[in-house]
Amino acid sequence: MNKAELGKSLTLALLLLTTACQTLPDSNHKQAGKPSVETIWAGLHCSRERATPAATWIDNSQQLEASFNKIRSATLGGKSSESPQIDFNNEIAILVEMGQHPTLGYRIALPEPARLEIGDDRIDLTLDWRQPSPDAFLAQVTSSPCLLLRLERGNYHSVQILDEEESLRVIARMKK
């Protein structure tokens, strides 16, 4: 290959690389080296009976369907009853459950932009971990908020969930 052809190839490669970067969804605000993350389902009554939070690493469709059925087990009817689709060749799902609380007013959410840090064989993911004001009047129904997140696969085997104050809430670990 001569210099002109190399130059064209390099330019083309650079163009392709740039284009590839630009096709990533803006909501991921993907930074170099960090996997993309997005919310694919959120609920308030996800059937967790324990007050403690939990995070589950889901890496196959059977597990996803079981988890989705569980978090929707208290719901009848409706159109949004099919489990989300995930390409498990390239992605995983993380189910984050806040735990059961005595009222409404509790919520977890993925902030925009997403705050995600790469650690040593792990990812630190910050979520909005909201509790009601102690003097608020609240609806007296128990709630168990949850988020189902889609993450791009990468060189990590656990996902640490932090709150806005960077306190560790719960960890999802890859099953061996």
Partner: protein, 892 residues
């Protein structure tokens, strides 16, 4: 039943000293007009003005006692076999005692036991025969009834009731002569056999041969935490542990099992023996009847196992007024509170409005179409960060936009509204879910949003609903009849109390959730005066694990427990109602099982709406009175009010019936006449008996008239209040000129509040049954100390007990009560449950005897009271007063 506070406490606790004094002072001596045992008098002080007190205790014409009890003083006549059956009249209240050998208090029956009591009686069609077991912790008794046609097969009773609870009840199908057997399956206890007295206790634990259930099938739920860890848990293995076969269901929930139809009864090793340690084994030539009897016995034995959470017949249910909405079958919480029978009376009137003060409502939910009040409601959320409805400030749009931007909104108000009044189909078709009062209208008021709500916004919603001035500048054309508040917080304020008081004064009935923090601290607005606070129940009628409790709880209703699936329907045991799901971006109209006192409160609000539908004049005071009197609830927990369940679980049918009764003229603010005895049987020899008529409730009443329906029956006042005419009367019968036979009549007592009818039976000629209230102990009790000052005891003479207490002094203003009763189980206490009891002038209103009192003619009756209190405690029937007597003889 409560006496004066000093006496109440002293009677049961301080008496050891009194008993010792009695033993020292009392064996023999004392005067009498009756050859009973008179242990003698205790002189309480200066005798310068000692007097003699005397009177007659009558047994009460309808009162009988088992002829073989454990009291060694009684005249023992065995009634252990059909040939020895004791004849009893109808109606009757009979006190008895049974024990298996070597169980129970010391006495003549201890060693040998007395396992069966037989009674012979004539019954009318549809009469109830009820056995109330005084202490079901110590004794498990069953009730068997036979047609008295000369061929009695003790192993094939015609009717069987063999539960494990406190009550056994059977209803006979036709007029005729019957043999009744009360049988001690295990243990010992007093009991009361009640016929024709109107207190039919229908227990949810009943096991009755006449019920309609699938022979051979049992619904069983194991207590999995008590099973051996090493055990392989499959339906088949679990069924095998109890000698049954699995038919359907799975571990972790209710399973349908069936009896092994070849091997016979095998539960707990009870096999083919005629009489085993597990009771008499029935044998019938009718295979289906045999299978039904085996099924009942299997369930009875299963219920005694700790590893069984519950065991029930597989009942065959007949449809009542039942919605045909597609998910109604999953709404366990409606039959739970007797709603289907209430719907037979009313499904709600569109003239009744229930305000749902909440997150707003999905106004387009298909199952809520046509259910809203004409005013359309209002949104009172001031803060746009809370409101999130893109409509600044308060506005007239009460639609719930959701309280989350990320697709996890609660739509809580929609769920609450659906419980109250989701559109329901009763004639076929229908979709979705049913509501408690589908015929009423909902007023949607939005006060909760993102992060909850503020007290100010909530109060504006309350003001609007009550037709009071509010920040919207409008009032609805028709104010709400009921307000539901499935919300709250720990802080209260006087300003808020004032608003709730104003709303209540405007005639609005306010219902609120008690809170989900499992604490007894006051929770607002439920804890405000004038607000009905609702705690939550699970499917076992236990307080839900999250529910608040405490002194402010008024009533309980189903709130659910989603950690369980007790009915094995495959869904969590929450409350199913309308809701939205915005997880997919758009709002989907769905249905969810949720749990909370949020879910309990709208059950109560909906029932109140049904009550308003049949009686539009009901006031908040009416509801309170009905609650306090136990007339619209099923009493749970401790009898009467308690901190777990308030006055009990709301019962929709009782509620609409009570509302209907009020609409027909019964005034809830006035009390109810309590008459003792509640029925009179003069037999064939007695000619007179005392009758006590008192005010059994609160407020004032007076008697307008007392009339009789027969010329041979008369009622004359003895000692009555000049104004109210309440007090003691004498009822007499005159048999002159009457032909041989049985005569019945009624005494009708009309008051300014209500009317009571007392049935009377007498017999002329023929073989009658002796009136016998057993061996009576009549106690003279110091009112201040509760000490027994003197004791008279003896059998009846012509159905009466003429007692005398000599040398009674009234030093330092001393006053006395006189009590009477039997001690069938010989435990040293009279007036135990199942024993006769009486007081001068009546148990409902014992009167102190003072220095200036009349000292002779202190007449009263000793029997079983059926006044207001017993009616408010269904399932217990017979009250226990438990007064210690003096032990004057050695126990043989």
């Amino acid at each position: 039943m409560k006496y004066g506070s000093a006496v109440q406490g002293a009677l049961k606790t301080a008496i050891l000293l009194g008993g010792l004094l009695g033993l020292l002072a009392g064996c023999g001596g004392g005067s009498s007009g009756n050859p009973g045992n008179q242990p003698g008098n205790v002189n309480g002080g200066n005798t310068s003005q000692a007097v003699t007190l005397s009177g007659t205790v009558s047994g009460g014409a309808n009162v009988f006692v088992d002829s073989d009890v454990n009291d060694p003083e009684t005249s023992y006549v065995t009634n252990d076999t059909p040939d020895q059956a004791q004849s009893i009249p109808n109606p009757v209240m009979l006190g008895g005692y049974l024990n298996k050998a070597n169980t129970g208090p010391a006495g003549p029956l201890f060693a040998t036991g007395d396992r069966s009591d037989f009674f012979r009686v004539s019954l009318a069609a549809n009469q109830n025969v009820t056995v109330n077991i005084a202490d079901s912790d110590t004794g498990d008794f069953d009730l068997y009834i036979y047609f008295d046609d000369g061929s009695i097969d003790l192993f094939d009773p015609d009717f069987i009731s063999e539960g494990v609870g406190q009550t056994e009840t059977l209803t006979v199908p036709q007029d005729g002569d019957y043999l009744i057997e009360v049988y001690a399956f295990s243990g010992y206890s007093n009991y009361a056999l009640v016929i024709g007295q109107g207190i039919a206790s229908i227990s949810t634990d009943r096991l009755v041969s006449t019920d309609n259930f699938v022979p051979g099938e049992v619904i069983v739920r194991f207590n999995e935490t008590l099973l051996p860890l090493s055990m392989t848990r499959t339906p088949a293995t679990l069924a095998a542990t109890v000698g049954l076969q699995s038919k359907a269901g799975d571990t972790g929930r209710a399973m349908l099992m069936e009896l092994d139809r070849t091997g016979g009864l095998t539960v707990q090793g009870a096999s083919t023996n005629q009489t085993t340690t597990q009771g008499r084994r029935f044998r019938s030539p009718d295979p289906e009847k045999q299978l039904k009897m085996d099924t009942l016995r299997t369930i009875k034995l299963l219920r005694k196992r700790n590893d069984i959470r519950y065991a029930e017949p597989n009942f065959i249910r007949q449809p009542l007024q039942v919605p045909t909405d597609s998910y109604y079958g999953l709404q366990w919480h409606y039959p739970f509170i007797n709603l289907p029978t209430a719907w037979d009376v009313s499904t709600g009137s569109p003239t009744v409005i229930v305000a749902v003060i909440d997150t707003g409502i999905l106004l387009n939910h298909p199952d809520l179409q046509g259910q809203f009040s004409s005013d359309g409601g209002y949104d009172f959320i001031l803060d746009d960060n809370i409101s999130q409805d893109n409509e600044p400030g308060i506005d007239a749009n009460a639609d719930d936009p959701g309280d989350s931007r990320i697709g996890s909104s609660s739509f809580h108000g929609t769920h609450v509204a659906g419980t109250i009044a989701a559109a329901s189909s009763f004639g076929g078709g229908g979709s979705g879910v049913a509501g408690v009062a589908p015929g009423v209208k909902i007023m949607p008021l939005r006060v909760l949003g993102n992060g909850g709500g503020t007290g100010y916004d909530i109060l504006q919603g309350v003001r609007y609903a009550a037709g009071l001035s509010n920040d919207s500048g409008t009032i609805p054309p028709q104010k709400a009849d009921v307000i539901n508040l499935s919300l709250g917080g720990p802080g209260g304020s006087q300003a808020a109390q004032d608003v709730y008081t104003q709303a209540r004064n405007a005639g609005v009935i306010i219902v609120a959730a008690a809170g989900n923090s499992n604490v007894s601290d006051p929770f607002y607005p439920a804890a405000y005066n004038g607000v009905i606070s609702v705690s939550a129940l699970d499917m076992n009628k236990q307080r839900a694990p999250y529910s608040n409790f405490g002194t402010t709880i008024d009533v309980a209703a189903p709130g659910g427990d989603t950690s369980q699936d007790l009915n094995g329907d495959g869904y969590p045991d929450g409350v199913l109602s309308t809701v939205g799901d915005d997880s997919g971006g758009n709002i989907d109209y769905v249905f969810k099982f949720l749990q909370g006192t949020s879910m309990a409160s709208p059950h109560m609000a909906g029932v109140v709406a049904l009550m308003k539908s049949v009686n539009g004049n009901l006031t908040p005071d009416d509801i309170d009175n009905l609650l306090v009197r136990g007339q619209i609830v099923e009493d749970l927990g401790t009898a009467g009010r308690d901190d777990q369940f308030g006055y009990g679980m709301i019962d929709a049918r009782k509620a609409v019936d009570a509302a209907t009764a009020l609409a027909q003229g019964s005034n809830p603010d006035n009390p109810v006449i309590s008459a003792s005895p509640a029925s009179l049987n003069f037999g064939n020899s007695s000619t007179s008996t005392p009758l006590s008529i008192v005010n059994g409730g609160t407020g004032a009443l007076s008697i307008v008239s007392i009339s009789t329906s027969a010329s041979w029956l008369a009622v004359t006042p003895v000692n009555v209040d000049a104004g109210t005419q309440l007090g003691s009367y004498q009822v007499t019968v005159d048999r002159s000129g009457l032909a041989t036979g049985i005569y019945t009549a009624n005494i009708t007592i009309t008051s300014t509040s209500n009317t009571v009818s007392i049935p009377v039976i007498q017999r002329v000629g023929g073989q009658g049954t002796n009136i016998n209230a057993g061996y009576q102990y009549i106690l003279l009790v110091d009112e201040a100390t509760g000490n027994i000052v003197d004791q008279w005891e003896g059998p009846p003479q012509n159905g009466e007990y003429n007692f005398v207490f000599n040398n009674v002094t009234f030093d330092n203003g001393k006053t006395y009560f006189i009590f009477a009763g039997t001690d069938q189980n010989n435990d040293g206490f009279i007036c135990d449950a199942g024993e006769t009891c009486g007081a001068y002038v009546s148990l409902a209103q014992p009167i102190s005897i003072k220095d200036s009192s009349n000292n002779i003619g202190l007449d009263f009756s000793s029997g079983f009271t059926t006044g207001l209190q017993s009616l408010s405690a269904p399932g217990t029937g017979i009250q226990s007063q438990a007064i210690r007597r003096k032990q004057t003889k050695e126990i043989p």
